[in-house]
Subunit: 128 residues, 2 copies
DNA sequence: CTGACTGTAATAATAATAGTAGTACAGTTA
DNA sequence: TAACTGTACTACTATTATTATTACAGTCAG
């Protein structure tokens, strides 16, 4: 399920956060679904449980999951991920990246295509 | 000119790369303009010349500047920054970010506004 | 040519961070 | 009770970022 690049200069826990975020955004992992336990996933990926936990804490901080001690970690309903600061941060990131895109010659039409693609693949269920 | 956050977990040289890239993209630094020398900038920012050099090497690798040993570092003409791999990489980043944007409730119209803003500010000397 | 710039390279030492290993404690559930 | 779950903490190692220092070579104005 996860292909981690140990040799990458990007820390393992950051790679985990990115890939899990994708699974959540694309609703491969549905709201309130239970995530693999830190110990099970650590064993499966042959990495340390602490590293998984670090990724889970980061995902919780960003509003993508919530945890119930003793029970497990669960995908947060989308509403939890929506917070004004985060929205502004993503907008700013987006603006930067769009400027860069124009600079290196990506056209407005290219971007509109990507927009279509994103709109179709992103979780579109507007449930709770 | 640069406000560096030493306390940030983001390495100084990465912060430099980001900020300089912005200056180049927004044509505050024009093509073929000479960048500050590694020693002068290091003294100005009270950091080590090696750290500046690392940032310059990264910018050169990404095609945003070129260097002439003995003379200095210079802003690359835009054509140098355009390389197929980079274009694809930025497109992929953009797609990911757009998906995330939709997920957290940013609307299509919001994004179209950002697109306008980017189109106007990229390469026209506007500030961020 | 000299002197004062420029970039580049390399080494060594330090500081900060990522990752592992192990242990312990508490809540949940069958 | 037993076997899960999350969380917290300490200690150790490996990696990386950053600094400090030195050295060498190209450029250019005097």
């Amino acid at each position: 399920m996860f292909e981690l690049d140990i040799r990458s200069r990007q820390p393992i826990y950051e790679q985990l956060v990115e890939k899990m975020k994708e699974l959540i955004i694309h609703e491969v992992w549905k709201p309130n679904e239970q995530l693999p336990s830190v110990r099970v996933l650590a064993k499966e990926l042959t990495i340390n449980p602490n590293t998984i936990q670090k990724a889970y804490r980061e995902l919780e901080y960003q509003g993508y999951i919530y945890s119930i001690p003793g029970k497990g970690n669960f995908v947060a309903p989308q509403s939890k991920a929506i917070n004004h600061e985060k929205v502004e941060a993503v907008k700013q990131q987006l603006l930067k990246l769009l400027c860069e895109a124009f600079y290196i010659g990506i056209t407005r039409d290219d971007i509109l295509s990507l927009l279509e693609e994103a709109e179709q693949s992103a979780g579109r269920g507007d449930e709770t």
